[in-house]
Amino acid sequence: MIVPLGHVFLLAGLLFAMGLVCLVAHRNLIMTLIGVEVMMNAAAIAFIGAALRWQMMEGQTFVLFILAVSAAEISLGLALVVSVYRRTGSIDPDRYDILKW
């Protein structure tokens, strides 16, 4: 009635690949966290599609847990970024060299 399941997975896979590229390519910790967020979004879409395919509510339950875990992860990640910015004065991971002797 709506679309084939493969197209939902294709959308989720495209989004996941975009998040992966964003995570790897950027030299900015904020953009790295945004990439993680895009990947979580893709996983949620795949779960919702699977829940509709098998007509089971477990998929939607897992999306709820993904929401909670992603909220915890992002808030903790941003707190870490702020903390590391306070220590080093930069959010560019290329410039972290305080372990260098």
């Binding site: 709506i2 493969g6 950027h26 919702i48 992603s70 707190a79 702020v82 060299d97």
Partner: protein, 201 residues
Amino acid sequence: MTVYTVIFYVLAIVILGSTLLAITRRQPVHAVLYLIVAFLGTAALFFMLGAPLLAAFFIIIYAGAIMVLFLFVIMLFQQSPRDLGLLSEWAPATLLGVVFLAVAVAMVFKDPGSGIVLQGAVAEPRDFGRFLFDRYWLAVEIVSILLLVALVAIIQLSKRREAGGNEGEARVTPVRNTSGPSDPAAGERSNISNAVKEGHQ
């Protein structure tokens, strides 16, 4: 080809386009704003795929709370956009993503179940809540403990170290001007590390 099919593809194009714009921005503020558009599209997609409660949660938590948190944190930093290194940074990442995507697409369409057309169904919020707290109440409690742990960790992280302890003295000074002349030890340090490197060779 029903109207739902058309809506699905339109939403997919909106989500993919705004995400593509978001991940290619240099300024994180623009990326976050584009990402809000992508999350609103995702919420509409959830609504269409039969999860109205999750669509509401998605708008409240993702587009409302998390993205505003991002905006607040971005405002704490001095903006220093640097040029996108197209060849050195984006080419390997894009290659990686394309290879990953090709493998994923091959796996999805190899599966004969991928051609099954989805039947519309809606999980009513009442049924969903009853199901959640009937079968997965323990997992809900565990997730609440996870959020509590994250809260405690954030409070601990964001507390400034008070002076007087050893840790206060051991804090590293900002390295904003490492190459400046105000740091006499920097040259010596690099000399030492060069000597170490030569010693390794």
